[in-house]
Homo-oligomer: 159 residues x 2
Amino acid sequence: MESRSQRLALITKIIQNEEVDSQDKLLQILNSKNCSVTQATLSRDLKLLKVFKRPTRDGRYLYSLSNAAPEQKPNIAKSSSSMDGFLSMEMSGNLAVIKTVPAFAQPISQAIDDMDMPSIISTIAGNDTILVVIRNGFTGTNVAQDFAHYFPEIANKIK
Amino acid sequence: MESRSQRLALITKIIQNEEVDSQDKLLQILNSKNCSVTQATLSRDLKLLKVFKRPTRDGRYLYSLSNAAPEQKPNIAKSSSSMDGFLSMEMSGNLAVIKTVPAFAQPISQAIDDMDMPSIISTIAGNDTILVVIRNGFTGTNVAQDFAHYFPEIANKIK
DNA sequence: TATCAGTGTGCATATTTATGCAGCCAATGT
DNA sequence: ACATTGGCTGCATAAATATGCACACTGATA
């Protein structure tokens, strides 16, 4: 085996047909097929091929070709206007209820979750309403304070 | 941050929202969010979540949630537990809040409703959060017990 | 021919990730 | 109460993977 491109093709075939979980293992298979390289070169080959280790159902990781791997959608960056559409917030027991302009509940809910406020377990959003679940040991006042701190632009809309 | 399941939920969120390419980097982000663990624990967490490093178009590798990989989706129903994607459950007053891997809230919510647990009136699900409304006369402890009974595989994720 | 640029490689080592082991803690059984 | 079990963790270190550097080879160019 002399050329790199031939070796790359061979690697592709091996990864498709066998359960390879380390470069050393791949190295052995290649050696047994008359192809002699070092682990360092293999590492570079795999990067060229965009090979990656995929999790299996039983908790292992095996090398896999990335042809089908889609780009992960990055979340839209938060802007200073992430509270656009916020209308009001009112406390009720261990819940805070936020009303928004219709269709704005989801993005606002996401923005709130992203802040990881200590007083909030999580939020859940419909179309124009968000439920904010307050963590045990905190009060609506705590939540109001946290909101005023993280989102000062809506501090005056909290009851 | 005290419980492992909560940390797992936080990790999924970080991996979705940021470009993480090493456990050390993830470690720093967690630390900045008041969550202190070692790299060793992180390695175990990532294996539990079946996180893997996905190749990007520009030749880098970033951590990614394996449940977002589409080729695995068609098989989920037949070969996975209905509690796949369940991350954590925390009580708050007459509610229990379940955090899931994104997009898993709806099916898990359905599975819970289907059990007709005596301690639960109903559930409502967003994208990665489920609210469980506890029936009058029951407590969060009752709900936790019911969950442990009906879904023993997630008993250890209940706070 | 001489020189240069680019590619490919091994070696040694750095970086990154995984794990054996022991200890802690909470839950459970006797 | 005491012992036991199992989950979770950190520490130290092993295992796995990536890379800086030097060198060899090729093809293009003056």
